[in-house]
Symmetry: C3
């Protein structure tokens, strides 16, 4: 963690920005870059009676870090995504509870 | 938003009902149809030692709208899905916090 | 439910353990095995300027069952996954609210 779950932006679009993006996000979080994952979900979207491109959306799964860090994280993430030509992107944070998170079966609490 | 994240129902099954479905859901929510997205996730399911069809499940991601609207939304969504021959479907709502939701890097609060 | 949403572990890896895994999890939950679903999400991951294998992660969606059952569930799940050669796995539980969960359009409350 943090985990970025991406819809509507392709892996090939993210490859060129991935290093600089994660370095900036790790600096904001004051954690190592190797805590981050970027997973692009394979999706097919439907609207108005036809298949359409998936709207760009990123869900960030992490432990609560406070509003200020979250605001900086969202701003940096959006800036990098928009820099590759994605016209708009929505980002939502989802908080994991440490009491409900396990590494190799052991609780994080 | 609202976002419909679909598992176990194919895009081609949803295409024919997508217009009427979204119009009815938008009427229930009293918002525009263009706020809605329907994303079908690509999944492979496993049970009892073999690959099996994915159980039909829809997660609705939105801001809290109250129990009455949520009940109507779920009933309409299930009715449309069952109308295309899906025998059963489970639907779960997931509430986003406005303080944790960003459009182009700007908070919704 | 419970629903296992899997990233970074392939369906073919899970097929051989699926029966024993679900039987053990059902015993822990004291519910029938046919309440369980295992859905593998199709993902492509990116890190450090290239595509990389997806980090093994399982999200468990269920109704709250208490810390002790959750701890046992996570330990059993991790043990089965590690038994097939997955070196590490993270597991997070996500609680559904019964008031926000519907079967065929009818609330679970």
């Amino acid at each position: 963690m943090p985990q970025l779950l991406v819809r509507g932006i392709s892996p090939s679009q993210l490859v060129p920005i991935s290093t600089a993006l994660i370095e900036e996000l790790a600096a904001i979080c004051q954690c190592g870059t190797d805590n981050f994952t970027i997973d692009c979900l394979s999706t097919t979207s439907v609207f108005g009676g036809e298949q359409v491109p998936t709207y760009p959306f990123i869900e960030v799964g992490w432990f609560e870090r406070g509003q200020a860090i979250q605001d900086s994280f969202a701003a940096a993430l959006a800036r990098h995504v928009i820099s590759i030509g994605v016209p708009e992107v929505e980002i939502a944070f989802r908080m994991y509870q440490e009491s409900a998170y396990y590494i190799n079966g052991r609780s994080c609490t």
